[in-house]
Amino acid sequence: MNSVQHVPLDAGHLLRRVAEKLPSNVVEHVVVIGSIATAWAFRDVTKTQVVATKDIDVLLHPGVDAVLAGQELGRQLLREGWTPQYPNGMKPGSSATPDNELPVLRLSPPGEADEWFMELLAEPTSEQMERKRWQRMTTDSGHFGLPSFRYMGVAIYEAEQTEFGVRVAQPAYMALAHLLEHADPDLTPISGLRNRPPRYLKDVGRAVALWWLTNEQAALRGERTWPSLWRSVLSTRFPGREGDMLWLAQRGINSLRVDLNAALPIANESVLAAYRVTRSQWEEAWSSFHRFIAQLVRSES
């Protein structure tokens, strides 16, 4: 998730490969999120499915079975010749490695190790309050961590079934999940990015990018469709707290108020790579997104 390169990968091709490679009993329990899901959702806007990443984020759900599913999936793929990838010089974990120091399980298919890899995540349980939780998975190649982020369940809500048999997250929900996550901005530096920006810059910037792409897809699509989508997921996952959650989302978008233009290059090197959005377009996108959320908050209060 941390390496961003201009690698000419095709989202549709990757989704097909993921669906082909995953055991059939696992496919129904995974959702592709992140850059690949975004490229797929907006392929009509960018007129391409090419993505500027080699990382496919795959979320296993339901969360209660995620560790077992992750272990079984990891073991099976390793037996089939998939190779683990270790970011930033990390080594395989062992029983002595603390949970939060375990490497995340990233696997590349045989013969394609330099092209792309799949990173496993878990859906959070409803009890998860901490930003990130690590769960240990044991494989023949060592111990790995299966991370879950507290609002990822929002991101995968009503994931879209693709023609390839694998589901992908929808932009409106991915954006909301990012905003909720950074109501309390995560300042952790992203080691794989130039200048090691804080995590919230990338994630909240991603939310703004999703908003911009949605309104490029059709005029005012965000304003017209996202209110009902957001209310649906919030009433399902946080019944009776919809107003509070929207207030958190407002805090999330506010987190970019000062550093907005620092987030633009990160977005332009990932999901906006096909567009290279200008600074004035970016500022307008943030402003309109901010107004949209403020209006939702007012309507709930």
Partner: protein, 324 residues
């Protein structure tokens, strides 16, 4: 949790000690209540990263309920004190010139000419433009003296095909037009794509500020599917905004809803991608219909302005034959 009040507090801390004291004091104010608090740091003298790190560190000392009710905002310059970061755009609102009633009268007469060569009375013009009787009579007198308009039985008429941009220019009867083009570095849409965006924008309901905007020029004449109007391509997108005589400004940022790459330009000689003609006649007689195409006169005049005279004449001829 019920939100009752929000406590904004603006400070300019000189040290992390000052910052900690303010955070703790704000938290103490909220404790035992359901209120929310915003600590606004204006023109900080501390490093922004330091402020954020200190904030995060202090939050951990508070219960999660209190944490969720505390918010931090950092305004690092006077321009950032508003609800959004400062825009790099040059202009948000354009001051409109006072209404040019000579143009508005000509526009009404041209419209009447297109529709079966009807004529109009002074009363018709006063009502539909919203100008005074004195102003309308003065304009009509000049038009008759210069041979532009004909008078018969207290009714007035022009021949639309006699009107050109040069004639209007000589009369000083040109409308106010706002030009927009794609900013440097943006990806221009084709006129066809812009027209499609306009249709998306206006359905099912136009957004705020677009209620009195209609599609004009060659796109509208194409849209109306008039036969034998020769249009090889649409060189630009023409829109008409019916703002009324009392409007003082026009919010040019509205164009960003059509395309975020468009910007207002003052240079009227650079080829525009979008032109908005501002009409000052009474909007209630000019409210765009469900099709959202401009009035006949506006389409005709926009075609003339785009140097499509032959097409304008064809349009007028076909419209006059009742192609509604």
């Amino acid at each position: 949790m019920t939100v009752t009040r929000k406590h904004p507090r603006t400070i300019t801390p000189r040290s992390t000690r000052d910052l900690r004291a303010e955070v703790v004091d704000l938290a103490a104010t909220l404790a035992g209540t359901a209120d929310k608090g915003v600590l606004v740091i204006k023109e900080p003298r501390l490093n922004v990263d330091t402020i954020r790190s200190e904030w995060q560190r202090l939050m951990k000392a508070f219960p999660s309920d209190l944490q969720s009710r505390l918010e931090l905002e950092i305004l690092d310059s006077p321009q950032n004190s508003g609800p959004a970061v400062p825009s790099t755009r040059q202009v948000d609102e354009v001051d409109l010139a006072p209404p040019n009633f000579k143009f508005e009268v000509m526009r009404m007469l041209i419209g009447a000419s297109i529709m079966q060569s009807r004529s109009l009375s002074v009363e018709d013009l006063v009502e539909k433009i919203g100008a005074s009787d004195f102003t309308v009579r003065k304009v009509l007198g000049e038009l008759v003296d210069r041979g532009i308009a004909r008078r018969a039985n207290a009714r007035f008429a022009v021949d639309a095909t006699d009107i050109s941009p040069e004639v209007l220019g000589t009369l000083q009867a040109l409308p106010e037009r706002l030009h927009f083009r794609y900013a440097a570095g943006t990806r221009p849409r084709s006129t066809g794509e812009l027209i499609e965006r306009f249709e998306q924008l206006m359905q099912p309901d136009p957004p705020e500020g677009w209620e009195n905007v209609a599609l004009s020029g060659s796109a509208a004449s194409n849209y109306l599917r008039l036969p034998q109007v020769d249009l090889l391509g649409v060189p630009r997108v023409d829109l008409t905004a019916y703002v009324g005589k009392d409007a003082k400004e026009f919010d040019v940022t509205l164009i960003r809803k059509l395309d975020s790459g468009l910007e207002y330009i003052r240079d009227l000689f650079s080829p525009p991608s979008v032109v908005i003609t501002v009409i000052r006649a009474d909007p209630k007689y000019n409210y765009p219909d469900a099709v959202r195409s401009a009035k006949n006169a506006d389409i005709y005049l926009a075609l003339l302005d785009a140097d499509l005279r032959e097409q304008a004449v064809q349009f007028a001829a076909k419209r006059g034959k009742g192609y509604e």
